[in-house]
């Protein structure tokens, strides 16, 4: 009687141990690192990464951490480094700067929101606070991380957005044209 009980117990203990071990193997725990403003530099645009709500980071499976000053730069990095195995990526809650998993966050976007590289995307830890923010701004949309995958990632460089870069090479220098383009530009800005 007693020995069978002991057997059962040890078997369950063994199973439990195994489960814990397996779980440990499968889900490598990634953590966001703290940002030191003296040394932190965006891996894409080279700007200082401030310890603020726009900062994001990703950890590769090799354990290398990349910091970004804007979620748009992180997206850019992922696009230009498709072969890197990304372990986890983190964004911050707009209100209290808490690090949150990229997948778990909700995102508010509007072209007029200002961010270091003008991607105009803010991250929030829950849908309510994202909704509340959009409501307070009276503009913008709320997205999940899945919806963000199909986002245009257009930078709001205001006047430059619609312009064809090659189209105004010669004329840009003269004073007259300068004035004209300014008018164009301001009307463009209003339409935003």
């Amino acid at each position: 009687m007693n020995s069978t009980k002991l057997m059962k117990l040890s078997v369950t203990a063994c199973l439990l141990f195994l489960m814990v071990m397996l779980a440990g193997c499968g889900g490598k725990e990634y953590k966001a690192v703290a940002i030191n403003e003296d040394t932190a530099k965006c891996a894409v645009c080279n700007m200082q990464v401030k310890d603020d709500a726009y900062a994001t980071q990703l950890v590769t499976e090799n354990g290398k951490v990349y910091l970004f000053d804007d979620i748009g730069c992180m997206h850019e990095w992922e696009a230009t480094n498709p072969n890197e195995e990304i372990g986890a990526s983190f964004v911050r809650d707009y209100n209290d700067n808490e690090w949150i998993k990229y997948e778990d966050a909700y995102y508010a976007y509007d072209a007029s929101y200002r961010s270091p590289m003008a991607y105009g995307i803010y991250s929030f830890k829950d849908k309510e606070s994202a909704d509340a923010f959009v409501k307070s701004q009276d503009k913008g949309v709320v997205m999940t991380s899945a919806e963000l995958a199909s986002h245009s990632w257009q930078q709001n460089t205001d006047m430059m957005g619609g312009m064809d870069m090659s189209g105004h090479d010669e004329s840009a220098h003269s004073e007259m044209d300068g004035d004209m383009t300014m008018d164009d530009a301001s009307s463009d800005a209003h339409s935003h």
């Binding site: 080279n46 200082q48 310890d51 709001n156």
Partner: protein, 443 residues
Amino acid sequence: MIKRRGWLAACLLLLGVFVWIAPCAAYASLDKGTIQQLIDEAKPGDTVTIAPGEYRGAITIDKSVTLVGEPGTVIVNDAAQPAVTITADGVSVSGITVEQRSMEESTAIELVASNTMLSNLDIHTHAFGIRLRKSNRNEIADNSIQWLGEMSGQEVKMSAKRNGIDLYDSHDNVISGNRISSMNDGIYQESSHRNQVIGNRIDHSRYGIHCMYTEGTIVRGNAGNYNVTGAMVMGVTDAIVEDNSFTKQSENVNSQGLLLFDVHTSTIANNRVEGNRIGFYVEQSSKNDIRNNSIERNFVGIQFLESEGNELQANDFIANVINAEATDSPDNRLTANFWDNFSGIDADGNGRSDISYAINPFFQQLTHQTPAFQLFFQSPGMQFLETMMQSDRSSWTVDIEPLMMPAGQQAMAGKHNSYTFWVSLCLLLISTIIIYNTGVKRT
């Protein structure tokens, strides 16, 4: 009786204290009235002169008046809104000291107007200095902007500071002769075009001049010292960056003299970058004309990353630990630059070497993947490995005909030569005359 007299004395004393305190309080609140009142009473086109004294903010200028502070005029603002807000076109403000004390996201001077003139202002701020929003053709000249100092002695993070002059969606402004110290970015321009930044001095700030998504910007004759980076030029086309000097940007690990990121068809000429970690940092930039710059005593003179079609001519690379690094940067045209670590051969005597100077990208590739390898900077082993890595040499950045003598010296040498020739000829003549005359007479 004694008791009553005591009471009376106490009452008198209290009254005295009141009478003494009351004017102070009234003075402050009345003063707040005075500048605003004077503006309210003035007609457009009037000049309002302010007598010396300390005044309370915040004030709003909503008609085109000229506001002149006599020496000793100070506006102090503790509120979260700007000390001075200008909403009318054609306003001119000069000669005032402004103290923006609140740490809230605000500014000492807010400009939402065009054709205004801000000059000779002395701004001390815990927020922005001068902020321009949708404001065009303004002139901001000869002002001084600096961080107000730490609250209760504690060190404030650099990121808590804000920009000295901050432009957003503001065009054709002229910003000249300002002195900016200990701010976040000295002069920040975003989505603002054809602004001219001329002859400003910026020190101990994050980025001296920071351009984001601008066109036709002119940055000329500015000086930057001890900033994290002298000028960050990002997302820019058709800019002119010339005659600037960016020196001693080396305290931060990410320091540069001048950084170009995503910059196209711009001219970078006659700048002096000296004593920085990296002189010029050029990434994802194309078709720029980089010429006649003097790049001296930096750890790395110029660094190219993913940049192509740039033209580098007549730049002097002198006494940098590494003169140049380049990775993934094909089709840049390097001609007739001077590289002091290169010994050329000039058989035909045209001042240019017959053998070319090639930039080995090995070290940069290595440290780009693992920044910690920077520890091996200039170590003998690394230099040995570098000489071993000669594969794929055809894709290296190469100066086809490097100068034998610095471009700067050459220009001087020309003048120098004729000058010395005539002087020595004169001296020879004079001495011959003297020797001939005196010599003959003595014997």
